[in-house]
C-alpha cells in the first residue's frame, strides 16, 4: 500500500501568527483547549469565561480565530455572543468563529441561521479534527479574500463577480460561493436572480439553507403563497429549523394572517427560546392579537435573555409595561419600572418610556395630579427632541386626551401620522383612540391634515421625479423629510431622487450629505427594508464615481 501520507499538498497556514480567543465557562476546558491549540503551534491564545469578557477582549484587539463553547453558563450563550459580535461589527468576515457544542441538535438550529458560525465542533472531539477543520476554514477564507474585500467595501457587483470566478476556478468552493452570492442578490433586491440561484442549488440537493433562501426570495417578491408552501414543507421535514419559523411569521404577516404568524413564532420559541428578536416579535404580534399572556411572557423573556445586549432598548421595557397595563396589572408595571429604573434613567429615550408609562398608570388610577406632573416631564423631554416609537407615542396621545390635554394629544398623533403616513395599522390605532374619546371628527381632521401634507409633498416629489426633474423632486422630498423626520418611506424616496439628480446633473455636496443622512434615518426606522440595499449600493457607486472615499463601518 504505497500512497502519499494524508494531509499533504495543502498550502501552509502560519499558526504562529494566528491570534486566538477561547471562550468557555469551565476553566479546565479553557486550559485544555489552550494546550491543544499550542500543540498545533497556535501560541497567541487568550481566554474568556463568558460573553461579556469575550466582548471586552475583542473590543480591545482583533482576533483571527474565536473558539467558543455554546453553553456559557449564566448570561448569554455562544450563539447570542456570535449574533452580537456580527451585529456590532466587532468581527469581520475574515475572522474564524467556531462553536463548540455538546448537542448535535445545535447544527440543525444554525444550519439555516442568518448568523451561523464558520463551523462547529460536537463534543467530545479530537484535536486532529479541530485542527483539520480550522485549516479548512482558513483556506476557504483565503479563497474568498477578494469576495470579502469587495463586500466590505460595499462593491456588491464586484463581490458577485468574485463569487462567479470562484465557482469557475475552484469547484470545491462552488456551493459556498453560491450561498454567499444568493445572500448578496437578496440584499441588493435582485430577488428573481436569487430565486433562480436557489433553485439551481436545490436541483443539486435540497439543502435546507437553499430552501430557506428560496422562500426569502419569494417573500421579497410578494409571492407569499409559494413562500409559505416552501416553508411549511421545510418545517414538516425539519421542525427544528428555527430560522424558518421567523421567515414564516413574516410571510403570514404579509398575508395579513397575524394568528398564523403568532403560531409560527411560538413554535420557533418552543425550539429555541433564547433568541431575543424572536421573543420581541412574538410579544408584538401576540399583543396585537389580544393574547396578553403570551405577549407578557415573550416581552419578559426578551428582556431577560437580552439584558446587557445591544438588542434591548428602552422600547422593550415600554412594550412589557403596555402589556401589563392592558392586563390591568398596575403593580407589575410599577415593579418593571422600579427594577429597571437605573437603566431607563440613563437615556432620554428611557426617561420618555418611564414618564409615558407612569402617566398611563396614574391616569388609570385616577391620580390626575401625578399624571399631570409626568405629562409635563414628557412634554419637556419631547421639546428637547426626544423621540419614542409609534406605539409609545400613541399611548401618550390617548393619555393626554384622557387628561384633557387635547392639543398635545393632537400634536402627538399628527407626529405619528406624519412619520407613518402609509401604515394602515398605526393609523387605525390612532383613529380608535379618537373614537374611544368620542372625538371621531377631530381625529379624522388631525389624521387627514397630518398625512395630507406629507402625502402631498411626497407625491409631488414623485411626480417631478417621473418627469425627470430630480432637482425639484429632491427639494419637495427634503421638505417632506423635515415634516416627517422619522418616516422611512419618505426618507428612502428622498435618497432615491437625490441620487438620480446627481446622476443627471453631477456632484452636489450638500445633496449627497442629505442623502447619507436620510439613508441613515431610514436604516434606523426600517432596518432590513428591501429597498435599502439598492439605495446604499447606488450611493456607494456615486461616491466612488466622484472619488469620495469614506470609511465603512
Amino acid at each position: 500500500m504505497a500512497f502519499p501520507p494524508a494531509a499533504s499538498g495543502k498550502p501552509a497556514i502560519d499558526f504562529g501568527a494566528l491570534r486566538a480567543l477561547v471562550v468557555d465557562d469551565y476553566s479546565g476546558m479553557r486550559n485544555a483547549l489552550r494546550l491543544t491549540l499550542s500543540n498545533f503551534g497556535i501560541t497567541k491564545v487568550q481566554l474568556a469565561a463568558n460573553a461579556a469578557e469575550a466582548i471586552f477582549q475583542i473590543r480591545n484587539k482583533p482576533y483571527d480565530f474565536i473558539l467558543c463553547d455554546f453553553n456559557l453558563g449564566e448570561g448569554r450563550d455562544g450563539q447570542q455572543l456570535l449574533e452580537e459580535l456580527r451585529h456590532s461589527n466587532l468581527i469581520s468576515l475574515d475572522t474564524v468563529f467556531m462553536m463548540v457544542t455538546a448537542e448535535s441538535f445545535y447544527e440543525k438550529v444554525v444550519a439555516t441561521a442568518e448568523l451561523a458560525p464558520d463551523d462547529y465542533m460536537i463534543k467530545p472531539f479530537s484535536a486532529e479534527v479541530l485542527c483539520a477543520r480550522l485549516v479548512s476554514i482558513l483556506l476557504r477564507k483565503r479563497a474568498f479574500a477578494d469576495t470579502y474585500r469587495h463586500f466590505r467595501e460595499n462593491q456588491l457587483e464586484a463581490a458577485i463577480g468574485a463569487c462567479d470566478t470562484l465557482m469557475r476556478d475552484q469547484p470545491r468552493y462552488a456551493i459556498d460561493a453560491l450561498r454567499f452570492k444568493g445572500e448578496i442578490l437578496n440584499a441588493m433586491g435582485r430577488f428573481e436572480e436569487a430565486e433562480a440561484l436557489y433553485k439551481q442549488v436545490i436541483a443539486m440537493r435540497a439543502v435546507p439553507w437553499a430552501r430557506l433562501g428560496l422562500a426569502r426570495a419569494l417573500h421579497l417578491q410578494q409571492k407569499d403563497e409559494a413562500a409559505e408552501e416552501e416553508l411549511r414543507d421545510v418545517l414538516e421535514h425539519a421542525p427544528e429549523m428555527v430560522a424558518a419559523y421567523d421567515l414564516l411569521a413574516d410571510v403570514c404577516l404579509a398575508k395579513k394572517d397575524p394568528a398564523a404568524a403568532q403560531e409560527a413564532l411560538q413554535q420557533g420559541v418552543a425550539v429555541s427560546a433564547r433568541t431575543v428578536r424572536r421573543q420581541q416579535k412574538l410579544g408584538e404580534v401576540a399583543f396585537d392579537n389580544g393574547d396578553l399572556d403570551t405577549a407578557r411572557t415573550a416581552c419578559t423573556q426578551a428582556i431577560e435573555k437580552g439584558r446587557h445586549s445591544v438588542f434591548i432598548t428602552p422600547a422593550d421595557y415600554g412594550n412589557l409595561c403596555r402589556v401589563q397595563l392592558q392586563q390591568g396589572d398596575l403593580k407589575a408595571v410599577a415593579n418593571t419600572l422600579k427594577f429597571n429604573k437605573r437603566m431607563l434613567e440613563a437615556t432620554p429615550e428611557g426617561q420618555l418610556v418611564m414618564a409615558v408609562t407612569q402617566s398611563v398608570a396614574y391616569t388609570r388610577e385616577g391620580k390626575s395630579a401625578d399624571a399631570a406632573k409626568t405629562l409635563d416631564t414628557v412634554a419637556s423631554l419631547r421639546a428637547a427632541g426626544t423621540h419614542g416609537d409609534s406605539h409609545l407615542m400613541l399611548d401618550l396621545a390617548s393619555t393626554c386626551m384622557a387628561n384633557g390635554r387635547l392639543d398635545e394629544a393632537d400634536a402627538v398623533v399628527a407626529e405619528v401620522a406624519r412619520n407613518a403616513h402609509d401604515s394602515d395599522a398605526l393609523l387605525a390605532k390612532a383613529r380608535k383612540i379618537y373614537a374611544d374619546a368620542g372625538r371621531d371628527d377631530a381625529g379624522s381632521s388631525v389624521l387627514a391634515s397630518a398625512t395630507a401634507d406629507v402625502r402631498k409633498l411626497n407625491n409631488e416629489g414623485v411626480v417631478f421625479a417621473q418627469k425627470g426633474d430630480f432637482r425639484t423632486a429632491a427639494d419637495r422630498l427634503l421638505t417632506a423629510c423635515e415634516a416627517a423626520p422619522f418616516n422611512p418611506r419618505i426618507s428612502m424616496n428622498a435618497v432615491w431622487v437625490i441620487l438620480k439628480h446627481i446622476d443627471q446633473a453631477g456632484m452636489d455636496e450638500q445633496m449627497i450629505a442629505a442623502a447619507r443622512r436620510q439613508l441613515g434615518e431610514a436604516e434606523r426606522q426600517a432596518p432590513g427594508h428591501p429597498r435599502l440595499a439598492g439605495l446604499r449600493l447606488h450611493l456607494r457607486e456615486i461616491e466612488s464615481r466622484f472619488g469620495i472615499h469614506r470609511k465603512h463601518a
Binding site: 469551565y26 484535536a127 469547484p171 470545491r172 439543502v207 435546507p208 425539519a238
Partner: protein
C-alpha cells in the same frame, strides 16, 4: 420519564461529554517519551478513550433513533477533507505502529452531500476496528460506485468473521458486542441517508483483509 428526570439526564450527559472531551484532550497532549513501554501504555489509553467516546455517541444515537429524531443534517462537504480528517485521527491513534494511507479516486467530486458528523462517526469506528485488527496497515478511500459516493476502510487483517458478514447480509439483528455493535450503528447511519429514493448502505467484504464500505446516495 418526568421532566425533572429528563433535565437530570441531560445535565449528566452534558457533564459526561465535557469530562470525556477533557480526558481525550489531556491524553492527546502527552508527548512521546521514547520509552517504548510507557508510550505503548499511553497509546492504549488513547485507543480506550476513543472506544468510550464511540460508545457514548452510539448510546445517544440509539436514544435519538428511538425518539424518531435520527434525521441527518445534509449539507455540502468535501469528501477529500473527510478522508484527510479520518487519516489524521487514524495516524494519531496508530502512533506509527500501523501505516495509514489514503486514496481519493479522480472521479470523486470536490463536493458531496451528506451529514458530515454522522458519517465521520461511522467511519472512525471502522478505522478504530481496523487499527485493532490490522497487521501492518490500513487504507482510507473515497471512490464513486454506481453514481454514489463510497467511503471505505481497508486493512490487512484476517477479515471479518463469517457470522458478521452473514448477519449484515441478511439484515437480521443479533446480539452484537465490540465490532458488531459499531457496524450496526454504521448501518443505521447509512440507511438514514436518502436522496431521491436511493438509500445509503453499508457493505462489508473480505479482500486481502476487512473492507468496510459506507455508501452515500
Amino acid at each position: 420519564m418526568s421532566s425533572d428526570n429528563n433535565d437530570f439526564y441531560a445535565a449528566l450527559i452534558h457533564e459526561l461529554k465535557n469530562n470525556l472531551g477533557l480526558l481525550s484532550m489531556t491524553l492527546d497532549a502527552i508527548p512521546a517519551s521514547g520509552d517504548t513501554a510507557r508510550d505503548a501504555a499511553v497509546d492504549a489509553a488513547r485507543m480506550q478513550c476513543q472506544g468510550v467516546v464511540e460508545r457514548l455517541q452510539q448510546a445517544l444515537l440509539v436514544y435519538k433513533a428511538n425518539q424518531g429524531r435520527l434525521s441527518p443534517t445534509i449539507d455540502a462537504y468535501s469528501p477529500h477533507d473527510l478522508v484527510d480528517e479520518l487519516a489524521r485521527r487514524a495516524e494519531r491513534l496508530a502512533h506509527g505502529r500501523i501505516r495509514v494511507v489514503t486514496e481519493v479516486t479522480t472521479d470523486v467530486p470536490p463536493i458531496g452531500f451528506f451529514d458530515r458528523d454522522l458519517v465521520e462517526m461511522a467511519l472512525i469506528n471502522a478505522v478504530h476496528n481496523s487499527l485493532v485488527y490490522a497487521r501492518s496497515g490500513i487504507r482510507i478511500e473515497a471512490a464513486m460506485q454506481d453514481g454514489c459516493l463510497a467511503f471505505s476502510v481497508r486493512d490487512d487483517s484476517e477479515g471479518f468473521p463469517a457470522h458478521i458478514l452473514a448477519s449484515l447480509a441478511d439484515g437480521t439483528p443479533y446480539r452484537a458486542r465490540g465490532t458488531g455493535l459499531g457496524l450496526q450503528f454504521a448501518r443505521l447511519i447509512a440507511e438514514a441517508h436518502e436522496n431521491r429514493g436511493r438509500r445509503g448502505a453499508l457493505r462489508l467484504a473480505n479482500d486481502g483483509g476487512a473492507v468496510f464500505s459506507f455508501i452515500v446516495p
